[in-house]
Symmetry: C2
Subunit: 236 residues, 2 copies
DNA sequence: TTCTTGTCACCTAGGTGTTAATAT
DNA sequence: ATATTAACACCTAGGTGACAAGAA
């Protein structure tokens, strides 16, 4: 069995509609997909991998007219909607890649003795990527999947391929691939919870995420109190 | 067969008498021990590891009276000798540890397709170290050794242990473990060639090590021309 | 006197969202 | 109008020798 790490954080993002940035060079996910694993054969070899499947067959877009222009900066917009419209049918599927955890293969004992983190996994929108990154269509929704493959020592192991792997899906890790954040609340939650974005925090630099616990005050409400939202009327 | 990478740099250090810093927390080696490997079975599994054996049974010390005091800084000295005296018999041997390359085990094809770098290996003088670092005695000389172990798939593989590994020794990688550099020329060569020490360079910030090639002008002579050595007479 | 330790400024290396410009 | 890109300031994380103080 498999337990998703940082589930509380995933839930918080999921409630807002998680977005993950895709770039040409490849961008890590945040939150990082991390799991605790139980019940492996400690002595057997396993490969751990992830892939991403479309949640639906749709392409999304922002609702018209909800963009706010930034005063004195013609051409710029800063506040995107949190809702999505269906823009039509999905773009052609991207090359279906998988990401093997770099420690693969390893013994069950090794995988189970600590949290397994997919922090080397990167998402790209570059169809011609040759860095082995996961290729996704921007403005499409995806479901990450986690697969555990038992390395069968038998000579005719191919015959048993079907029974030698198990797939785990956590719906709270679904997200929309984007090239720039669409929902400002997602942006702010990323800034509040990702250590690498600390430079953009304007609230108390205090003990986040050190003191954050599941069940504590919801992040966004805490955030909203200390933030000056872009409130000046659009002067379109 | 195995080929030592950056041999020219190792040779340059070796001519001066290589020193490696040991600290309580653990210090990486510089140059880093890196090799190219040839002739493995691409499909077989191998473990790669290193250990360190004493070059002799001696403890070393600096010759007396060669220390230069730094003007206006009583108690400080800045220029150590490049020669060593035998201080006596070696201290009790440290716990004999080995460092497995973190990618072990892996297929021969994997090991051979790129340079294998032991940049995670750290040296410590802490006899009680529990980080798995290599424990060495300061002021003693060591010879790094590189071992390739074939992972024998046979059930009674223990019987063949003797024939399933091969050891490679490069004498130019010998060094003296120290807690602070003793030979100023070693310090300067480290500063000149280690990217992480760039902050201490006072010569042209130009294209080192980018343009450095084996056979080019020896480093130290190039360095000496642009450096102000500590030349004021000792006022002991 | 000689050697060791801990702190520091200054680097490398690379992960963030912002921003302005550009593409479609 | 909407979406993407590239450069950037500002972080995390950690590898350097210098330096001052301490230990033996």
């Amino acid at each position: 069995s498999v337990q998703l790490e940082m589930k509380a954080l995933w839930d918080e993002f999921n409630q807002l509609g998680t977005e993950m940035i895709v770039t040409k060079a490849g961008r890590r996910m945040f939150p990082t997909f991390q799991v605790k694993i139980f019940g492996m054969d400690p002595m057997a070899d396993y490969m751990l991998l992830m892939d991403f499947v479309p949640v639906d067959d749709k392409r999304y877009r922002q609702p018209p007219g909800l963009w706010l222009r930034v005063p004195f900066s013609p051409g710029r917009y800063a506040f995107h909607s949190s809702s999505w419209l269906v823009a039509g049918k999905a773009d052609p599927a991207t090359p279906g890649r998988v990401h093997y955890h770099p420690d693969s293969p390893a013994k069950g004992a090794q995988w189970m003795k600590q949290i397994v983190s997919f922090d080397k996994l990167k998402l790209t929108n570059n169809l011609l990527d040759d860095n082995g990154h996961i290729i996704l269509n921007s403005m499409h929704r995806y479901q990450p999947r986690f697969h555990v493959v038992y390395v069968d020592p038998r000579k005719d192991s191919e015959k048993y391929a079907e029974e030698n792997f198990k797939t785990f899906v956590f719906e709270e890790t679904r997200f929309t691939a984007v090239t720039a954040y669409q929902n400002h609340r997602i942006t702010q939650l990323k800034i509040a919870s990702n250590p690498f974005a600390k430079g953009f925090r304007d609230c108390d630099p205090e003990d986040w995420p050190r003191n954050h616990r599941p069940g504590a005050l919801p992040l966004m409400s805490a955030f909203a109190r200390s933030r000056n939202p872009v409130s000046s009327p659009a002067h379109q």
